[in-house]
Symmetry: C2
Subunit: 685 residues, 2 copies
């Protein structure tokens, strides 16, 4: 390592460094702030995003926002897709509506696919990060990494990743899109990427030693390049334009999601947005294959490694990529309907490409997430969502390891789980892009809608199904595309997120959606579905036995509870008239040191006097006469299912002992208590 | 008027002066801020309330909060009552649960009665006032009125109310309850009341000339006294204590609302609150009739005029009103259940009294609202709610008159409408207080529950039914307690608030509760229920005729729209497959000057592809083959119902012309446009 002749730059340690303040970076910061992990969060741009870029929020991400407490902000502001219309040319060549179907999958989630510009979403995340961290964690900008080294695997350093950071001059880091003209995304490969990493002054640099580094730095990820990870895939010839406009039109379905195929002019996707805005994705013809040597083209998905060894694709003619040209193309497709612009908020054009990084980490010390791992077309509205879900999957695992609660081996599940999702995403996007970019007549309307239908569930984000692993108790040979369910809960797949259901809080009779009672606190949840215990003698005994087993202070529960890594919840299905509060083992209504009872751990799958409740057991395929014990990960995914018996609970302890340090017999005694205590205060209404 | 020898105090004009920043004052300020009225808002206390005092939010108030955009803040924080339990002594004299019933009236509102301390509620109101007024309107404190004069009725002054205000020294205006001890409400008649109104220095005084003054200054209202309005009613012998505690108990229903009657110890009401707090109302025996001469007693409802001519009631013995005594009484009633205290947040004691002011205004220039008009026991959780609804009724009327939109005569409806509500409230409270304070055996459980049941609907706030007036088109001889419904809408009572229903937005298929589409913008709403127009030829013609009539630029609608005082909404009941966007008259999908269409004025009472909708016509008793035109006031109350025909609309114009200046033939031409434009931008998703 070269020693500078100037005074050495300042050095500091941090548990986690997040590089890049986009959706993946913000979600990582949110989770780490919530779990109290010492984090540094940097971005090379000097300001946040004000407009344009990504806009889709899938139902699963809204569910996750709910667990962090700010989904209500989203619901108040977003436009929501409820219906999708299909337009095709009639015999005279003019477009007309040929079908109308539900958008998304009715009933799969309480939320529907929604849209709003990325800047608002980052604001909600940013506000929550400030709240959770008490103001301690904010994005430091403009700050870029200059070098990154991981110490060799046999190093015993606690902070084995060394990163040199450089503060950029503000004027160097302001993307052109924020000028005094219509904001546009044509120049998104902004200058920050081209900054010479050789620093001219040591004053602006600092050395950071981190336990873990997260590269959330976008499609042209600097971190990915440092790790030498290949970004595999290719750029296609398809070129699309995007307009975010407040339209003046007589098109009757402008506030619904529409797929429009014209006879000669190409295709359009209509995505209604917030505040009267509509986003149009417009197929552009005749701009590709003309200017191979163009370099400043806007192609979100063309990787920066494209010039390194790969056959170079035809590039678009930048001179044609004006908002006027894109609008004229749209107007032609819309005929006989009018389309004018009252306000133009943003525009861009991109060449479709699909790429996935071959690895999502190095040494399980430096990880990449979001666009750094996967790039694709924006039309399925997945990019921002999959990016956030990448770090929602990763950050709690890092927190567990940093706190010494779990073995580092759980970190390997990140790449396993999310690489599969990325591959599925690229496969779907490839299919969708080809469909949308097909010439008239190439693909039938039926075929088109079949693909859309099949994709609907995927695009909700609710069908992600993680494979067998240290954290997923299912057969290793389970086929990837077949959900694995226990016979005890025939509609709950191990590896998938827990679907929502409305239950009644036993103590105060308030109806709640289960997801509202599963806030992201970092805890595993042990849901004991004890069925109709009041009218099933065997279950009554099981409940009592489980209560006694859990109450023994020497058992694992005490340790898990002390660490705040496991929260048991009891969900019964007995009629309220047969139930008394004192029926329930004290372990489900524990008292704090002062004697104040926790009233929020027992839920009933019974009819409310006020709202429609009582279908959870049926929804989950659990027999009220048999019950089930369901273990959820901190991110809400079902990870193991057993019988609701003492033996079943012991099985769960055994499973947890594979990765939870507290359950290793040798370390249990020395384990520090209340690891997450500051961030997981008991729920209250 | 005496002229001071010192330099004259500064003088200024204001449209409205609000005296007193409690719930009534905040609601007045909220409405006036929303409608852009120049308002001054003063309070004699130096700080806001931090704890204790009122805590109940009835469903109707939550509906109103929704129209102002902040009900989501409430829902996240409050405790909600869903079930009520009744406890009585068994043969051994120990209490046991004898019944469990729904709390409130299932289905009457989307919201259930909720509780949270008054300080939080005032924070939500205060934040919204800041938002609506752009930060211009805040409470000025500590500032108290010294004198108030109304110019004679024949005055032509624009600002006929003259008020001298005095800035108080901060230390004089801090109630004792904010000391470094357990906060308590025993000394709520705080010093501010006793300040000598003769000012020692002119520097601290200012003269304000107002168009209207609102006295929202509490049970001991200074404004009421200036107006010489009598506060009629009496104080009873019943004394109750209040504890806000985090309890340590084995009482199984501590998180439900409970009425407990013990054998010898008296009664308790249990009201579970936010953050694990429980409020207990505890009947206190043996503290009354002992110290007639006690003066510093805490009696919320004892009026300050009690010493003036009325037979003086027995007063409580203040020395016994300690938290220890109140808790000991509660513990005795709770037997055999334990009751200890982990945290005590607040306590008080009060002597029940019921009073109503004989008038709620003077010259329709100075008004009183809230506790200044009506005082009663807190047990029904009505005080804060009725207070807020007083000014929610009044403030929009004042705004209309201040803006020159309506004749001053509409102001007379305030006293008419709200005095009746106050009388009903007092009558109910009297009944309830006697029940709760009755000795064991005096009243049967059945009788007790019958009164509670009858009162449930009343306490939701959703059954308020305003009588015939300039603003209510119903027969003058309609009996007060019988709702008046048009045969066109057999379940919509004229005089009552519009019940909620879930509809589908025609343009984008998003399901909405109707209340969410009726934000408090100051507009009257003309709801055209055009039924199943697509399959009913007569209705199809009516729709087209109404469209043509409304579209004529010379008609009243144009003027009303220019003033932004009337918003038409179309609610149809035709199957979606039979409906095309272009069916609808352009008046329901108008364009702005740029040509951008308003997509948010047509709703469908049809099944959604995603949620349960489509029962509005049935709920309102409207025939899908006949329809109805329903006029709503800016505060959401149904005011007139006609046929959905051109004749019906003309009837509505005629009705509106009784009080809307825009519809008077002589003034229509000179009328200023867009009166509420800054505050009523078009809705968007």
């Amino acid at each position: 390592m070269a020693v500078p002749t100037l005074p050495p730059p300042k050095e500091s340690n941090v548990d986690v460094l997040i590089v890049g303040a986009g959706p993946a970076g913000y979600m990582a910061a949110l989770w780490l702030a919530k779990l109290g992990i010492k984090t540094k969060f940097i971005d090379k741009r000097s300001t946040k995003i004000f407009t344009g870029q990504a806009d889709g929020l899938q139902p699963r991400v809204l569910e996750v926002f709910e667990t962090f407490g700010f989904v209500d902000r989203a619901i108040k502001e977003v436009a929501v897709g409820y219906e999708a219309c299909f337009y095709e040319p009639d015999e005279t060549g003019r477009i007309r509506r040929v079908d109308k179907i539900p958008e998304g999958v009715p009933g799969i989630s309480r939320f529907n696919g929604s849209v709003i510009h990325q800047g608002r979403i980052e604001t909600w995340l940013s506000d929550a990060i400030e709240e959770f961290s008490g103001g301690a964690l904010t994005v430091e900008r403009p700050l870029a990494p200059e070098s990154l080294e991981i110490e060799s695997a046999d190093s015993t350093s606690e902070y084995p990743v060394r990163v040199v950071l450089k503060r950029l001059p503000d004027d160097n880091a302001s993307p052109e899109q924020f000028g005094h003209k219509v904001e546009n995304g044509l120049y998104r490969q902004f200058e920050g990427d081209q900054i010479n990493p050789v620093s001219s002054s040591q004053d602006d640099t600092e050395v950071l030693r981190a336990k873990y580094v997260l590269g959330c730095d976008g499609a042209h990820s600097w971190v990915r390049k440092q790790l030498g990870i290949e970004h595999k895939g290719e750029t296609t010839d398809y070129v699309w334009g995007v307009l975010d406009i407040v339209p003046v039109t007589d098109f009757p379905d402008i506030r619904k999601r529409c797929s429009i195929h014209s006879k000669d002019g190409g295709s359009i996707m209509v995505i209604p947005r917030e505040n009267g805005i509509v986003r149009l994705y417009i197929q552009l013809e005749g701009v590709a294959n003309e200017a191979d040597e163009a370099t400043n083209v806007a192609d979100d998905s063309t990787p920066s490694t494209a010039t390194n060894g790969e056959k170079k694709k035809a590039r678009v003619d930048r001179s044609k990529l004006t908002s006027e040209h894109i609008l004229a193309t749209a107007q032609n497709i819309f005929k006989p309907y009018s389309l004018e612009v009252a306000e133009m908020h943003w525009f861009t054009a991109y060449q479709i490409g699909q790429r996935v990084a071959t690895h999502f980490q190095k040494d399980n010390r430096v990880f990449i997430a979001g666009d750094a791992c996967h790039t694709h077309s924006p039309k399925a509205g997945q990019g921002m969502n999959v990016s956030m879900m990448d770090t929602f999957n990763l950050a709690w695992k890092i927190a567990y390891v940093v706190k010494g609660l779990a073995k580092p081996s759980i970190l390997t599940t990140y790449e396993d789980e999310r690489h599969t999702v990325a591959e599925d995403l690229i496969a779907y996007d490839l299919k969708l892009s080809r469909l949308f970019s097909s010439k008239p007549g190439e693909i039938s309307t039926e075929e088109f809608r079949r693909v859309i239908d099949q994709g609907s569930a995927f695009t909700t984000g609710c069908t992600v199904d993680y494979g067998a692993s240290l954290l997923m108790d299912k057969p290793a040979d389970q086929p990837r595309d077949v959900p694995y369910c226990s016979p005890l809960a025939t509609k709950l797949a191990i590896g998938m997120r827990l679907p929502d259901a409305k239950l009644v809080m036993q103590s105060d009779a308030r109806p709640w959606f289960l997801n509202q009672q599963l806030p992201s606190t970092g805890q595993f949840r042990l849901l004991i579905f004890i069925g109709d215990y009041a009218q099933t003698p065997a279950l009554k005994t099981q409940l009592s036995d489980i209560g006694a087993f859990l109450a023994e202070s020497e058992t694992a529960l005490q340790k898990l509870r002390d660490d705040n890594v496991l929260q048991p919840l009891l969900i019964h299905a007995s009629p309220q008239a047969k139930v008394e509060w004192d029926d329930f083992p004290i372990v489900f209504r524990p008292r704090d040191k002062r004697g104040v009872m926790n009233y929020w751990l027992i839920l009933a799958d019974t009819p409310s006097m006020h709202e429609i409740t009582g279908d959870a057991y049926e929804k989950y395929g659990i027999d009220k006469g048999v019950g089930a014990a369901v273990l959820l990960r901190p991110d809400g995914y079902v990870t193991k299912i057993t019988e609701p018996t003492v033996e079943g609970i012991k099985d769960i302890w055994k499973f947890l002992s594979r990765f939870l340090v507290a359950l290793e017999p040798s370390t249990a005694c020395t384990f520090s208590s209340n690891a997450f205590s500051t961030k997981s205060k008991s729920r209250d209404d």
